[in-house]
């Protein structure tokens, strides 16, 4: 009765054995659920040096501790594994409807090891779990496969399902796992691991109740939060065309203020994440032309064509993920694009718009909608896929790729038609697409000729579409997180809005401050990045949404919900210690597997080497090595190597915990 189910399902795909494992209460109290539970299982189960695509790797699909308890915006499901993209800890998360279904089947997570001889899927219903033949859906795209598996297994209740597309089947290292008709847990190559196991999907039809300690207290916190969100609406005068103007103002400001994160909800309710499409170009947040351009290149004649209003013009239905009260999702009509091949697609996220727009100098919004659906069905990460194409375009420009190499595709910047074709080739692993389907790091290794200069990544993973020269703390997290290159971990902007200092004793408070402070490697900035990192672990332990997190701890009351759901009555400082333990365990996983944390340092171009010559980020440089060292130091990790120090491991009681495992 503490919000979690207390057990996991463990499936050996080589032998077909399926077992339930009980998880003791103290594991949850030390690591929460979600990614924390996943780290505990994977650290103990995967032997050092295991091949990420081999039978020893373990793939976990986990839910959050608060999922299904009556708390809001805590319905994300997460995937954990050893990443074939980075060689270390890998995770990805996604919204939609799958997370509560895992718990309704009686589990906090479902873990897979081994490799099946033939394609299979896992069905869990009230009769129990069983592996079933998936030959009939192998080779089909993710959306079609999901529809078939759901249809075949619908009795009284419609199941929830997660599947891989053909990219995962073909073990593309940038493949993700899909649910709800094309929403992806996209990052870290989790789809490649699932494909390597010949596991097409999971289908869940449970009806077990999710019980917690004090449901009435959970409800009261939820109601207070909902009352604020309901009131929030943008005045009609705020149009999408005004957002880039706001971005310009923001980009030119010499100071930063800790604004009310609730204001973000007003924008999200109206546009969803494409709210940033033009605004992030003009303020400097969006990387342009493979991180070498600026808003002088991708100017108004470009960004006005991918404007937020133009995106929602195609939106005919809005939707909410499970337990969400903002509802940033949408479904868009694309029946007039691509000769009617697809009728609709999920509203493309900002990340997809940015990576297939400004990063490629593409201003054809229709192509972005079409590519969005291709990737959703193929089951491929849009951030990594677009970044790989940006790499190819720059190599083409520099003469490292020729028309012969591209199969006749003219890879000039902004050629939308060529980009569509190349995406199709990547999903099918054909021609140049085969080279790019494993991400930029491997593509550059295979291509050689100094092409690594144009392969923008951190530790093997392509970064999100938020420029570290705009928000240096974003660059720190790109470089120090055990899963590098993620834009969802932390940033100065996130920290300022999350307002941890209101509840956590050691989190530095923020008032209005000069923007230049963000570019200095100081103990204060490091403490902020450490606090952001610890809190993000808590969010991933409870199934929380990043957009709820950045509304602020005074609004989205994760600590209070946790106490109400579990009865633990811990202080925010105690929860932050759990976050620190989770993050340290993820780092220990990397150390165990021989990953050198230093090797995750982001590409020099992302740190302003060489500096941009124009635009809002002109001349901006990030002292990333010094920042990484300070971050590690304040985490209690070796400031030179990034390895957790023995005294930190002891203080976090991880030594005892790992001995038990």
């Amino acid at each position: 009765m503490k919000g979690y189910m207390g057990k996991i399902l463990f499936v050996n795909l080589t032998t077909g054995d399926i077992e339930e494992r009980l998880i003791p209460d103290h594991i949850y109290e030390m690591l929460l659920s979600g990614v924390g539970l996943g780290a505990y299982v994977l650290y103990n189960e995967i032997p050092a040096g295991a091949d990420p695509l081999g039978p020893e790797n373990v793939l976990g699909i986990v839910s959050g501790l608060l999922t299904g308890t009556g708390s809001f915006m805590t319905g994300r499901w997460m995937v954990v594994c050893k990443s074939p993209l980075t060689g270390g800890w890998g995770d990805a998360n996604c919204g939609g409807t799958l997370a509560p279904a895992i718990k309704q089947c009686g589990y906090d997570g479902i873990f897979f090891t081994g490799i099946s001889e033939k394609p299979v899927y896992l069905l869990v219903n009230n009769k129990g779990p069983q592996l079933k033949d998936a030959s009939h859906v192998w080779g089909k795209d993710a959306t079609e496969s999901e529809e078939i598996l759901i249809s075949e297994n619908t009795a009284k209740k419609k199941p929830a399902a997660a599947v891989i597309g053909t990219a995962g089947e073909k073990v593309s290292l940038i493949a993700g796992i899909c649910n709800d008709g094309g929403r992806l847990a996209a990052r870290s190559g989790v789809g490649a691991v699932m494909g390597s196991k010949r596991l097409k999907g999971i289908v869940l039809v449970g009806s077990k109740p999710i019980k917690c300690h004090d449901p009435q207290a959970v409800k009261l916190i939820s109601q207070a939060y909902a009352n604020k969100i309901r009131k929030l609406n943008l005045p009609g005068i705020v149009k999408g065309s005004l957002l880039p103007v706001g971005g310009k103002v923001m980009g030119s400001m010499k100071h930063v203020a800790p604004i009310d994160g609730m204001m973000f909800a007003t924008l999200m309710k109206k546009w969803g994440t494409p709210l940033s499409n033009g605004m992030a170009v003009t303020n400097g947040d969006t990387p342009i032309k493979n991180w070498a351009g600026s808003s002088k290149d991708y100017n108004r004649s470009y960004y006005s064509r991918i404007n937020s209003d133009l995106v929602i013009k195609r939106e005919y239905r809005k939707y909410h993920c499970y337990s969400c009260i903002v509802g940033c999702g949408g479904v868009c009509d694309i029946s007039d694009i691509g000769q009617g091949r697809f009728t609709h697609t999920h509203k493309p996220e900002y990340e997809t718009c940015a990576v297939f727009g400004p990063l490629l100098m593409n201003r054809n919004l229709e192509s972005i909608f079409y590519i969005n659906e291709l990737l959703n069905r193929g089951g491929m990460d849009s951030i990594s896929a677009g970044s790989a194409i940006a790499f190819a375009m720059e190599c083409y420009e520099k003469g490292l790729l020729t028309l012969e190499d591209t199969g006749g595709l003219d890879l000039n910047w902004g050629n939308a038609e060529a980009v569509i074709k190349l995406v199709e080739m990547m999903i099918a692993r054909e021609g140049l697409g085969d080279l790019l389907a494993d991400g930029v790091k491997i593509a550059a290794q295979k291509l050689g000729s100094g092409s690594d200069k144009y392969a923008i990544h951190a530790g093997g993973q392509e970064p999100g579409m938020h420029d570290s020269r705009f928000d240096p703390m974003m660059g720190v997290h790109y470089s120090v997180d055990p899963t590098p290159g993620r834009h969802t971990i932390g940033a100065a902007q996130y920290y300022n809005m999350t307002r941890l200092w209101e509840k956590v004793s050691w989190a530095p408070p923020v008032k209005i401050y000069p923007k230049n402070e963000e570019y200095e490697a100081t103990d204060r900035e490091a403490l902020k990045s450490v606090a952001g990192s610890c809190y993000k672990q808590i969010v991933d332990g409870i199934g929380g949404c990043l957009f709820a997190q950045i509304m602020g701890v005074q609004h989205w009351q994760a600590f209070e919900w946790l106490n109400a759901a579990t009865g633990w009555n811990k202080t925010p400082d105690e929860y932050m210690l759990i976050g620190k333990r989770m993050q340290t365990l993820r780092q220990l996983f990397n150390v165990k597997h021989g990953v050198e944390p230093k090797s995750f340092k982001m590409h020099p171009r992302m740190a302003g080497e060489p500096p941009l010559k124009e635009g809002p980020l002109k001349g901006r440089q990030v002292p990333i090595e010094a920042m990484m060292k300070l971050h590690w130091k304040h985490f209690g990790w070796d400031e030179n190597t990034g390895a957790p120090l023995p005294e930190t491991i002891q203080q976090l009681e991880l030594d005892q915990l790992l001995q038990e495992g």
Binding site: H255, I259, D260, M262, E351, K511
Partner: protein
């Protein structure tokens, strides 16, 4: 009494404590808070400001614990 203020980057937050709290006399209005924050007169008509997440006029009389937020463009996602 205290109200909570989330200021904009170009305002003056000297009167706020680290939690964003501002001491104002009973009967103070939103206009009084604008003065303390030194909101430029020219900008007053165009700033989008809410009290307790509802649109409010500058003459609104504030209550203990009221939350004053300004809309500001934020990128993310």
């Amino acid at each position: 009494m205290q109200v909570k203020v989330y200021p904009l980057p170009f305002l003056n937050d000297d009167a706020l404590d680290e939690m964003g709290n501002l001491e104002v006399p009973t009967g103070a209005t939103l206009r009084d808070v604008y003065k303390k924050l030194q909101v430029p007169l020219l900008l007053r008509p165009v700033l989008l400001c809410s009290v307790n997440y509802e649109k409010s006029s500058l003459d609104r009389v504030l209550q203990e614990g009221d939350v004053i937020s300004f809309f500001f463009p934020i990128t993310g996602g």
